[in-house]
Symmetry: C2
């Protein structure tokens, strides 16, 4: 049976992955977390972090790491204006749609609402060179109805606009704690359920998502077998077999190709995440901080930042890419059913009339 896909979406997805269909994408669209980190490193207030410094570190990271990637995700505020020239011709460009962070206006104080960047549109992103659009939506399936509705409508809006522009829509889902903190064995226990139920919501065709960018659905910091690892947090929520079972369930839930995100974990943990996700059926990764975060510690010493990026960070990237070799090519995901099953939506002499 043929899987029908529109031409713009197909070209975009092809560009995001390598020729064998595996996503090895880097994220450098951090805004809030980058400002926080720079404030810490420079020992100043967040409000005193200068625009140029954020743009400079992003440009540097993009220049030195983009050649390792199949696609670069950046943001339109600090990233795109200065980093675009640093992205090689054969590395795709993903642009972020959402404003950094979240608000809780009109909902519970722990609930998170995502919002667009002012004056930013999918059409503008496409004109500015985007091969695909990324939206980060915070999501907790047990949030209040107003919070759920807001997030669902936001995602649906972006899905509609991406369909209009015929550009791939990559949806990133990030869970959060309604009570307590995400850095706890309690949250680690909830996480599989939160991640899988969020996926179950957004695979609905009405959202028009093409690729899911997902958290690792468990927390290896709380996994028995990693007791000897530097990242082990001192308490276990599950064992490795249970984690593998969770990954398998996530893959069963995801009727769309999915990639794994790093959420700023250390590289050792992230490589384990990629391996386990790939084993379960993920199609690669979209990773930022796990690869390059320690480079920022050296700012504003540009030479030291460069050194780190050229050495440790590049090695991190190579290791992540090696782990992603075991990933499932996107076209072999059951949503597509193999490269031979993919058929363009508009195949006729007169397709341009209705397009």
């Amino acid at each position: 049976m043929a899987t029908v896909i529109s031409s713009g979406k197909l070209r975009g997805i092809m560009k995001l992955a390598d020729a064998s269909g595996k996503f090895k994408m880097m994220a450098i669209d951090q805004r809030g977390s980058m400002v926080t980190k720079l404030a810490e490193v420079l020992d100043i207030e967040k409000s005193d972090v200068e625009y140029d410094d954020v743009a400079t570190i992003k440009t540097l990271i993009t220049r030195l790491l983009a050649p390792n990637s199949t696609a670069v995700l950046t943001d339109p505020i600090y990233g795109h204006p200065y980093s675009l020239t640093e992205i090689p011709r054969d590395v795709a460009l993903l642009l972020a749609y959402e404003a950094s962070g979240y608000v809780s206006e009109g909902v519970g104080e722990n609930e998170r609402l995502s919002n667009p960047i002012d004056n930013w549109t999918i059409a503008k992103a496409q004109r500015a060179g985007a091969d695909a659009i990324k939206l980060l939506a915070y999501y907790h399936p047990d949030a209040s109805v107003p919070a759920l509705k807001h997030q669902q409508e936001f995602v649906r809006h972006v899905g509609d606009e991406c369909e209009k522009q015929d550009i791939p829509f990559l949806l990133e889902l990030v869970s959060y704690a309604l009570e307590g903190t995400t850095k706890s064995v309690e949250f680690a226990k909830q996480k599989p359920d939160l991640v899988i139920r969020s996926v179950e919501e957004f695979i609905d065709p009405s959202y028009k998502v093409d690729i899911l960018k997902l958290e690792f659905p468990a927390d290896l910091k709380y996994t028995e077998e990693y007791k000897e690892s530097s990242f082990y947090a001192g308490d276990s929520a599950y064992n490795l077999n249970e984690v593998k079972e969770i990954c398998k369930k996530l893959d069963e839930a995801s009727t769309l190709p999915w990639v794994i995100l790093s959420a700023g974990v250390d590289i050792e943990e992230f490589i384990e995440n990629v391996k386990l996700a790939a084993e379960a059926g993920a199609s690669g990764f979209l990773c930022g901080r796990a690869i390059w975060k320690d480079a920022v510690d050296f700012f504003p010493d540009i030479n030291a930042v460069t050194q780190f990026l050229e050495n440790e960070a590049t090695t991190n990237f190579h290791n992540a890419n090696a782990a992603a070799e075991a990933a499932l090519p996107w076209f072999d995901h059951r949503h597509f059913g193999g490269a031979a099953s993919i058929q363009l939506e508009h195949q006729s002499e007169n397709w341009i009339q209705d397009y």
Copy 2:
């Protein structure tokens, strides 16, 4: 001095060329000439050539040759709907804007007016995956005022639309004979003047052209030094030094990066064209028939077509690519003044407001 370029245009131009800035592009957007050729090969009327046959041969040529190229130019009628899936992720997509051929309505009977494809827009091309737009405009600088105006307005319209969509505009200029035939020593003598004066018209910034796709500005069939070549036509219009001087003048006239087209000449002649053009300052080629035309002779024997494409045509492409190694990187053209001089137009925190 910095050269300012918008982000969509920059990304598009980068994708069209190889990493070193040289264009090694293939054209498979032929419609009228492909139908004529298939009618001849199949020994049928042009009106009896089937849509599927044109689409099939284009798909095959794209599949087997695109991997040699930095960009593929195809058409939206027969090409795009079936060939898009054949273009590798790191090979850019150029889409043709003009309807095939020309008309002479309301102008002299030898004059040529170009027109758009019905219902086809630059915005649609961009959504459908185009990295750049190509427009072929027939042009004779001594045509009647109505003919000149029509062509100039058509080019200006496409330039405006490409600017709106922030997508590169590649303008192809093709001269013609107002009297007699282009296959004559008389026309060969006129050609340098026609090509150079046409360039002088369309480098005007009001046309918003990014790259020129030009005929070789002389005819090596009528060049003394090629007397022993298979393509020599038996009469000379100039000698090789004069041809080199003509190429130099063309390069001086072209204040924009330019590439050479093949106009269906044989590969031996085309390789000479590329060498001489590159020596004068061309940035590469956009070549169709010189590379693959003989493959069509074997249609409908798909195996024989495939054989030819995998062997002779691939060798032709490699030879053209080798000749283009001597080309001037587009960013080193005086229009840009070197990669280090290129600056994005929109560099500020708030660029998206006005974009």
